[in-house]
Amino acid sequence: MLKPTNVSLYLKATSQVVSNNIKPLHPNVVITKKLVTPTPQLSLTSFTLSKTLPLGNVRVISGPAVSTQVRWAHTDINVPDWSQYRRDSVKSSVAKSSESEDSRKNFTYLIAGAGTVTAAYAAKAVVTQFVSSMSASADVLALAKIEIKLAEIPEGKSVTFKWRGKPLFIRHRAADEIATEQAVPVSSLRDPQHDNDRVQRPEWLVVIGVCTHLGCVPIANAGDFGGYYCPCHGSHYDASGRIRKGPAPLNLEVPFYEFPDETTLVVG
């Protein structure tokens, strides 16, 4: 209770307090324990020298390493029952832990191993998914190859197919065409290639129908050399798909193809 009469006790420089048997008398004299330090002795003899040595129980009584708080935890806290968390084989206080050591470790490592296996499986699945997303999709793969029945193409005719979004010319060449193309001297060509290097079988010419000049589609059986003629800028190709006249710099491209049997051609 703060009252002016109470506070005035503390504000006064000197006080004379008379006990009135209601309030306890404030002690006006505080007796502090006097710190006694041993007076250093003059080390004159071995005896007085030995007196300066710290003998007996040397202890650190202050500093950061010294606990300043003592709590008697065992007096007010009940130790919880941990037995649900403990392995059955070592619950008993008389059981030897070394006897069940291997089986307990086996269990721990088995859990770790199961986690490893699952993680490896998941990692592999993720990596496979990302890598396979870089490969060609199914619709691209479906268009990647084209199979052609050769019996449907009569001799002397050039047929156009669509392959990978581009026109594909397949020409069934007659014997006189083959003879003409093979007789062309290679040195006279702009893009020197012998006819034998451009066909696998002399009677079948397989070329991509894109003009090497600016990418128009040439017309079959037209032009000065009886092969292909590009109407855009007047490039003349012969019956081997080689550039003979006009602005195009290169021969018509020959794709990869093979003959699985006598009557089929597979391009791609």
């Binding site: 089986s103 088995l110 191993g113």
Partner: protein
């Protein structure tokens, strides 16, 4: 029983090399069985809805 677990511990789990090898070997079988099981489960849940279940109606 203790003999068996000791044998397993000493031959597989004690060394990291054998432990890793066991994991790699186990993941091989785990992957195969997990994939087959999930595939089987998927087919069972989608019974009658997949192309392979109705294929015979449209192809001869």
């Amino acid at each position: 029983m203790a003999g068996l677990s000791s044998t397993i511990y000493n031959s597989v789990f004690k060394r990291t090399s054998t432990f890793a090898l066991a994991c790699v070997g186990a993941v091989f079988f785990f992957e195969r069985s997990f994939d087959l099981t999930s595939e089987l489960l998927f087919d069972k849940i989608n019974e009658g809805k997949l192309w392979k279940h109705i294929k015979h109606n449209y192809e001869k």
